[in-house]
């Protein structure tokens, strides 16, 4: 089975410090892959390197076999990668529907002249895009928010719309940066369901940074643990939870000794 995403010995050096040190990762098709670790472990840096917002000093990133190291974020997006961010990045000047329609940007092609003169082709494309956006809203269960300005959604709702937006262009893989932060327990359960449906019904691979361990343990197929820029564990959620290095990284050495006895 070819990996959808391969991170091959990636190092990111900042002055004397390595934000990422020789990190390796392979994510398969229709897999939900969690990335966890204490603060400052380099998780967001890893995501930034994958999607092109940060450069690595050495190593390679491959998306479905193609080398995407160091390419522009918009290029990588066009190769089939989507991403959400820690803070809501919905476009505030648009409604929910318009935001989703934007998500299809890289699959549409109306150029300046077609747009300016509203050619039949442009109008047709516009209708199709709006239809696709409506379907995406149905998929995430938010049709009733269609014409609501993006600014008038709650935090959790914005999250869901953002995820829906990344799904519009039918990416192979979506990177999620702390999708559950600030969500109540109910919302986290809903998010859990949504992520599963994305994996099962759409076959999309998900790579997810998360601190909410409940969600990671519940929904992830594989988990990678980073600490201080280094990968210290990788495997199924259960295997990782019991890994002594992981416990040490989160709780410190003395507590590790205590949990050993427990």
């Amino acid at each position: 089975m070819t990996a959808v995403l391969e991170v091959d010995h990636v190092t990111v050096a900042f002055g004397g410090v390595n934000a990422l040190d020789d990190v390796e990762l392979a994510v398969g098709e229709a897999e939900i892959h969690g990335v966890i670790g204490p603060n400052g472990a380099g998780k967001t840096t890893l995501l930034n390197v994958i999607c092109g917002l940060a450069k690595c000093s050495s190593g390679q990133v491959r998306l479905m076999g193609t080398d995407i190291t160091g390419r522009k974020p918009s290029d990588i997006a066009r190769q089939g990668l989507g991403r959400t961010f820690q803070t809501s990045q919905l476009f505030q000047g648009m409604t929910v529907l318009e935001n989703l329609v934007c998500g299809l940007h890289r699959r549409t092609k109306a150029g300046l002249l077609a747009a300016a003169f509203r050619t039949a082709a442009a109008r047709l494309e516009e209708e199709r895009t709006i239809e696709a956006a409506r379907k995406a809203l149905e998929f995430v269960g938010m049709e009733q928010f269609r014409d609501r300005p993006a600014t008038m959604l709650s935090f959790g709702q914005q999250r869901v719309v953002e995820i829906a937006r990344t799904l519009m262009a039918e990416p192979a893989i979506v990177l999620l940066d702390e999708p559950a932060v600030g969500l109540s327990l109910n919302r986290i359960a809903e998010l859990d369901l949504l992520l599963r449906r994305i994996r099962d019904e759409r076959g999309v691979t998900l790579v997810m940074i998360e601190h909410v361990i409940r969600l990671v343990m519940g929904v992830c197929d594989q988990v990678t643990v980073l600490s201080g820029g280094v990968r210290i564990a990788q495997g199924t959620p259960d295997a990782v939870r019991d890994d002594p290095d992981v416990i040490t990284a989160y709780l410190g050495k003395e507590l590790h000794a205590r949990s050993d006895r427990a």
Partner: protein, 369 residues
């Protein structure tokens, strides 16, 4: 109360489109009834409509903090005037030359725009504007220096129309075309790409929007309109001089789009119209012009940040705007994780006067760019 009265009128009567048609009819009829002075004012107004529309695309929709608009206007005027005077081109050949020149410079500015954050982009475009002004003033062998130079009037020879009226109708035609095309553009994926870049350039990139391409497009379009406007302006005044393209001009154009509504094509038209009339009312008294325009700019930014178009959208039942445009509330300080509370929404009807309350709660800290 105002909205209550308007709500009793049928929507088609007071909608944006109706007002647009009414304005168009008024402008077509104007030369038949007006004296030369009002013809001149009307012509000036149309030129500013063209300018404001393009500028709004760049500043209001794409959110680029660019101060080169007056310089582009000047480049269009100088390009047109100089090709006429130096090479003897007729106006209809010189105008495209001036326009192309302005588009060229405008597009070049997109490259620094790609790498510079907002404030630095402002600085770079300000520096560019100062350089342009200096070139107009000091490169006397080419631009005739501070005194400016005369340009032959635009002739519409075979047509049975006077020069002044001919230029007016030409300007009107161009203005209508520019406004319509711009309105189409903002409702298309290009307009959405502009707003995406304004509201979240990082996210825009992550969904595949090529920043350089769309910034270049925004700069190019505003250069195009400024160039055309400059060409027409040189024809209107029959005279080109540096003082027409100074900082005050730059600020005045900005005031037009702020008053009219950043992120609204209708707003560009409204703002240009209103402020041209203010300019004429205060003609000759530079200090009062400065105070008036400065106060309008400042006042609207503080009190009516989304401009008159937004005010109309909220209170006039038939008024639809393609993209909701809280042009100033986009950039939230990234260090907060406070959840946005879900406000209670009024019923959204099919023809809705949607009362949009101000966006996110005021967040601590100053705007960072």
């Amino acid at each position: 109360m105002f909205s209550a009265v308007l709500a009793t009128l049928p929507p088609w009567l007071v909608g944006r489109r109706t007002l647009g048609y009414a304005a168009l009819v008024a402008m077509i009829v104007l030369p038949l009834t007006a004296n030369p002075y009002w013809l001149f004012v009307g012509n000036t107004l149309l030129i500013y409509v063209i300018l404001a529309t393009g500028l709004n695309l760049l500043v209001g929709f794409a959110g680029q903090l660019a101060f080169a608009n007056a310089a582009m206007f000047g480049i269009g005027a100088y390009g047109t005037g100089l090709t006429q005077v130096d090479f003897g081109f007729p106006f209809f050949l010189a105008a495209p030359c001036g326009t192309v020149l302005a588009v060229g410079f405008g597009t070049i500015l997109a490259f620094p725009a790609l790498r510079l954050s907002g404030l630095y982009l402002g600085l770079a475009t300000l520096a560019f504007a100062q350089i342009a002004q200096w070139v107009f003033m000091h490169w006397e062998t080419v631009t005739f220096g501070a005194g400016g130079f005369k340009v032959p009037p635009v002739s519409f020879a075979p047509l049975p129309i006077s020069d002044a009226k001919g230029l007016y109708y030409l300007t009107l035609l161009i203005a209508v075309v520019v406004v319509l095309l711009a309105a189409n553009i903002v409702r298309s994926r290009i307009g959405r790409a502009f707003v995406a870049i304004r509201d979240g350039a990082v996210a825009a990139e992550s969904i595949g929007i090529d920043l350089l391409r769309y910034k270049a497009l925004a700069f190019g379009l505003s250069g195009l309109t400024a160039g055309i406007a400059g060409a027409l302006y040189s024809g209107l005044l029959n005279f080109v001089a540096p003082e027409s393209f100074d900082l005050f001009q730059m600020m005045m154009q900005k005031a037009m789009i702020v008053v009219g509504g950043l992120g609204s094509i209708a707003g560009s038209v409204i703002g240009a119209t209103l402020l041209t009339l203010v300019l004429e009312a205060l003609r000759g008294v530079k200090s009062w012009q400065e105070i008036a325009f400065g106060a309008l700019l400042l006042g609207f930014v503080i009190l009516v940040p989304n401009g008159l178009a937004d005010f109309l959208r909220r209170h006039v039942p038939g008024w639809r705007e393609p993209l909701i445009h809280p042009a100033f509330s986009g950039d939230i300080d990234a260090t907060t994780t406070e959840p946005v509370p879900a406000p209670a929404l009024p019923q959204i009807g099919a023809i809705g006067a949607e009362a949009i309350t101000p966006a996110a709660p005021l967040l601590e800290g100053a705007a960072r760019q």
